[in-house]
C-alpha cells in the first residue's frame, strides 16, 4: 500500500514536470496568451478587457470591473457559496452544543 502511494507520487511529479516543459516561457510578452488577436483573428478576451474596461464602467481598476460588472452574476453566486458555508458551520457547531 505504501509502495503504491510512493509510485503515485513519483508518477504525478514526473508527469507534471514533463507537462511544464511544454509551457511558454514565464513572462514572455510574445506568447499567445498575451497577444492581441488569437490564431483565428478574433480579439483575445484579456486584451479586449484591458482596452475597453475604462470606457465600459469608468473604473480605473480592471480587476474590479471584471469582478463587479462583467461577471457580477457570477460573483453573486460566489457569495451564495460563502453564505452557505457559514450557515453549515453555524448549524454544525450549534448541534454540538445541544448534544453535550
Amino acid at each position: 500500500m505504501k509502495a503504491l502511494k510512493i509510485i503515485i507520487l513519483i508518477l504525478f511529479a514526473s508527469v507534471m514536470i514533463y507537462a511544464a516543459s511544454d509551457l511558454p516561457y514565464r513572462g514572455d510578452p510574445d506568447n499567445l496568451m498575451h497577444a492581441e488577436e488569437s490564431i483565428t483573428g478574433t480579439k483575445v478576451v484579456g486584451s479586449y478587457v484591458i482596452q475597453e474596461a475604462y470606457n465600459d464602467a469608468k473604473t480605473p481598476n480592471i480587476v474590479t470591473v471584471i469582478l463587479g460588472d462583467y461577471r457580477s452574476v457570477d460573483t453573486f453566486g460566489e457569495q451564495v457559496v460563502v453564505f452557505t458555508a457559514g450557515l453549515i458551520t453555524i448549524l454544525i457547531l450549534r448541534n454540538r452544543r445541544r448534544l453535550t
Binding site: 502511494k5 503515485i8 507520487l9 504525478f12 511529479a13 507534471m16 514536470i17 511544464a20 516543459s21 509551457l23 511558454p24 516561457y25 514565464r26 513572462g27 514572455d28 510578452p29 496568451m33 498575451h34 492581441e36 478576451v45 484579456g46 486584451s47 478587457v49 484591458i50 482596452q51 474596461a53 475604462y54 480605473p60 481598476n61 480592471i62 480587476v63 471584471i66 469582478l67 461577471r71 457570477d74 460573483t75 460566489e78 457559496v81 460563502v82 452557505t84 458555508a85 457559514g86 453549515i88 458551520t89 454544525i92 457547531l93 448541534n95 454540538r96 448534544l99 453535550t100
Partner: protein, 122 residues
C-alpha cells in the same frame, strides 16, 4: 539551456509545492494534517495561475493615464487574477467547512487518527 531554465523554474517550484500537498494528503494519518495538505495543493494551483499570467515590463491592471491603454503589452492580463480571487474565496469557505466537520468528528469519536476512526466506526 539557461534560457529554458530561467523560463521554467517557476513552474517547477509550483510542481514541488503540489507534490508536498499530495504527500500530505496521501501519507499523513492525522486528518488535520491531511486538510493542511489539501490547502497547500490549492495554494499551489493559485500560484501557478498567477505566475503564468505575468508579463515582463508590464504594470498591474489598474488604469494609469500616463501609460497608454491601447498597447496591451503595458498591462498584465487581468483575467487570471480575477479567477484566482474567486478560487481563493471558495477555497477558504470549503476549508472552514472541513475544519468544522473535523471538530464534529473529534467531539463524537474523541480521535482524529484515520486508523483509529475506522476501527471505532466498525
Amino acid at each position: 539551456m539557461l534560457d529554458f531554465f530561467l523560463g521554467h523554474y517557476a513552474y517547477w517550484f509550483v510542481v514541488i509545492l503540489m507534490c508536498v500537498g499530495l504527500y500530505g494528503i496521501l501519507f499523513k494519518k492525522n486528518l488535520v494534517k491531511k486538510t493542511i495538505g489539501l490547502a497547500i495543493f490549492q495554494v499551489s494551483v493559485v500560484l501557478y495561475f498567477v505566475s503564468i499570467a505575468s508579463k515582463w515590463d508590464a504594470t498591474v491592471p489598474v488604469r494609469d493615464s500616463n501609460i497608454p491603454v491601447e498597447q496591451v503589452a503595458n498591462y498584465l492580463n487581468p483575467l487570471p487574477h480575477t479567477l484566482m480571487l474567486t478560487a481563493i474565496v471558495v477555497g477558504v469557505a470549503t476549508l472552514g467547512v472541513a475544519f468544522t466537520l473535523l471538530m464534529a468528528i473529534y467531539n463524537r469519536y474523541g480521535t482524529l487518527d484515520e486508523q483509529e476512526l475506522l476501527e471505532e466506526i466498525q
